[in-house]
């Protein structure tokens, strides 16, 4: 395998995590760089992961009553400016269209960085009465934010996402929706991507521009840095007031409706890479792997091997996403290739296996081997895919547990932040100054105030020593 190893060699995580990440993105053929600065090509293998993410998430959205729509990709400057906090947050990082053909535009248009303003523009037309509420919308599109430094999937000038936007009669309903979608996101990450997440509220400093509350799910990457993996925002009636959206309620009075928005992006693919990957490449969760099983024939020139491999391929196809590599490459090359691509299960089949009515299954996560009778192949693969997902989740959860620390003093926090990558749990007085100081001194930002852990807070702020009001997860983040 010496030669093949060379071809696909990647930097080890230990040596240089950032380079390892880039190597995996390129060598597993998820992306390609382009002549368009700060943007990327999502190649078939990367896009197939995104299609699986889309399919599952879209099903969860529809199951919870949401409908898909499509808004324009442009926002006239005057529309973007209607909500004060929102425009302040986004205007500095948008791309501006100023010419159409050879003519200068009367009003410049930004390419949407997010679409609250466009949805409000539409709500104003379609929301008149309580009968028109709620509207539970979502769209699958790309958005643009003019980032200075970019990295595949994690931060790029254009990225793909879904953005849910809903409008409700009451604050209670809108708040309920905000939390519901946070839970959908958490379930999706944990069940399908095998990524454990901390659900929590963002501090005021970290809130989405224009939101009253921002909820988040935070995951911990292999290198101990946090990755914000999905956010859900409650807007109250701020946008409705800015856009003058009112409805006639059941008592025939004019009222302002309440709004939410929530989004997940192609960043999730970065989360999958950095949560599960290893020095041999990607390790993909079975639910989103483009191929769940890859058949590699051994000694395929021998009589009957390819025929049998074809037969197994046809037999497995109705129940699994299965591939067969009958190319002229050596088995060793193929082993390395599908390890790099993170295919959950490799199925090896050679002349001896055929004689014994068996095959060999090798799981990507632990590299364990199983000799399996062909009579019970489907059952075994089904079990294996489930067991891989379970093990991937548990491994990630155990690592996060091991990389989560508690701190009660500023010095202690700084020492942990300097030496031990991971989450740091610490109490906070809710003062913005302390939050800024922790960033300055320890280099950490507040990731979230975890839900269900804010009752009976007793103790002192890790920074100023005054009585604490919140328990916060802090960390360095992507």
């Amino acid at each position: 395998m010496g030669k093949e190893k060379l071809v696909k060699a990647i930097t080890s995580m230990e040596d240089d995590f950032a380079q390892w990440y880039t190597d995996v993105c390129l060598k597993s053929e998820l992306i390609d760089y382009t002549s368009v600065k700060g943007c990327m090509v999502i190649r078939p293998y990367g896009y197939a992961i995104w299609e699986n993410i889309q399919r599952i998430l879209d099903g969860m959205f529809k199951e919870t009553g949401h409908e898909n729509v499509c808004m324009p990709m442009f926002i006239p400057e005057s529309l973007l400016q209607k909500e004060k906090d929102h425009v302040e947050g986004f205007a500095p990082e948008v791309a501006w269209v100023t010419m159409g053909g050879s003519e200068k535009l009367e009003e410049r248009l930004c390419v949407r960085p997010t679409s609250e303003t466009l949805f409000c523009d539409h709500y104003k037309n379609v929301v008149q009465s309580w009968r028109d509420l709620p509207k539970l919308y979502n769209q699958w599109v790309s958005v643009v934010r003019w980032e200075k430094t970019t990295r595949p999937f994690l931060r790029s000038r254009e990225f793909l996402w879904q953005e849910g936007h809903t409008i409700h009669a009451t604050a209670e309903e809108a708040m309920e929706e905000t939390v519901k979608m946070l839970n959908v996101y958490a379930e999706f990450c944990e069940k399908y991507l095998c990524i454990p997440v901390v659900k929590g509220l963002k501090t005021e400093k970290e809130r989405f521009a224009g939101a009253v509350q921002t909820y988040t799910i935070e995951a911990l990457m292999h290198d101990g840095k946090a990755l914000q993996s999905g956010t859900s925002h409650y807007f109250g009636d701020g946008f409705a007031k800015a856009f003058d959206i009112q409805y006639t309620d059941k008592d025939n009075k004019l009222s302002y409706p309440h709004q939410t928005s929530w989004g997940m992006t192609t960043r999730l693919i970065g989360a999958v890479i950095m949560t599960h990957g290893d020095d041999n490449g990607l390790v993909l969760p079975p639910a989103v792997a483009p191929k769940q099983v890859m058949i590699v024939p051994i000694a395929q020139h021998k009589e009957g091997v390819l025929e049998k491999a074809d037969e197994l391929f046809a037999r497995l196809k109705p129940n699994f996403r299965v591939g067969l590599d009958a190319s002229e490459q050596s088995p060793g090359w193929k082993f390395a290739e599908y390890e790099m691509k993170g295919v959950p299960v490799r199925l090896e089949l050679g002349p001896k296996d055929i004689e014994n009515n068996q095959c060999v299954l090798v799981r990507r996560d632990t590299r364990e081997k199983y000799f399996v009778s062909l009579d019970e192949l489907e059952e075994k693969i089904t079990w294996l895919l489930e067991d891989i997902a379970r093990n991937m989740f548990e491994t990630a959860a155990a690592r996060r547990e091991n990389m989560t620390y508690d701190a009660t003093e500023l010095d202690e926090m700084k020492a942990i932040a300097d030496e031990k990558p991971g989450f740091i749990r610490a109490l906070w007085c809710e003062d913005r100054e302390c939050e800024d100081k922790l960033k300055e001194v320890a280099g950490v930002s507040s990731r979230c105030m975890p839900l269900g852990m804010q009752e009976n807070i007793e103790g002192k702020c890790v920074c100023c020593g005054k009585p604490a009001k919140k328990l916060v997860y802090w960390g360095k983040a992507y």
Copy 2:
């Protein structure tokens, strides 16, 4: 029903076809206008049609070996300019991004009007050897063309589409792909949208900018105007040469590969509206209708009616896209509403029906009524949906037949073009001057040179009288 009729009244086709079209788009809630000039909101009902179109087409693409990818939405000016004909065709109608945040860009970027140049930029990185060919790619994205006059679905500054892009070792293979995808498009239109199409080649004048050949499918709308419904382009090695893409062939020599591209857009929704719609609104093909069956309870306040309706809804849900309207609106209002929305089958269920173990099915296309035993409901609905699709296709085909004329002289052609909307079949000498003159005198453009009808052409050019070389479909077009 007087009041409801008023609410949903639309202009009749006879009175004003353009206004009828706009009314249908708005009243059936397919779209909304926005503050973004020349763009539209695709509302849930419109987007659900597009999702069905996507699902079916995407399946056909994958069945024929294509993979989805995602290219950036921006094209640097220098990249757009690499292929001379291509840039000439598109540069006058692109939107230019000139600012990122508050900084002027060093090189302006256009929002993609189509992505040949981006695919070429990527091919250059991933195509080195004959082993890397073919690449059979597709993407589902939106594109922007700065149109002066716009109409929902038919012509808007931003529209949704798929663009297939493939690259092959030989001209033969690429040509085969071009025709294969044209056939996929024609099959999709005829089988799933119930729209008969003429398959043909475009004249040089009407070719896609940069293409060697452009194939098209042309449909005839209710008002006798043609609608180009999908195109498939063969590029030869022109783009490969402009972008310096070469591969090492099996004899170890450097060769230029050959390319294709092909696209279908949200325009198809416009084609569905204008092919099948009537003065009561939309008539949707069962394959893409968001709801295939809508249950309308009659006297729903009476005991047992809503329970039975719920039961039928649950029973039909696994096999059909079914809806149940149990709102407080009157049955008459609901009938008009779902006629406007073009739902293929209405299922009425009242106390008497329940007594008799039956229901009433009303088909949208012919408005025929069927009294159906609940014991054979699934079979009857399955038959009805198929029969509706068959009838819609045949009705459209018969209308097209009746609206297709032959002309041999220029005067005759002008008279037909002035008085009888539709296709005009006429021979042509293949001279650009005659094509231009027909546009000028009779107001028609060449729609296509139909495939399989170009053998043994004998006769004179309808314009100049010289010996003809091609049979051409001419017409006024959207």
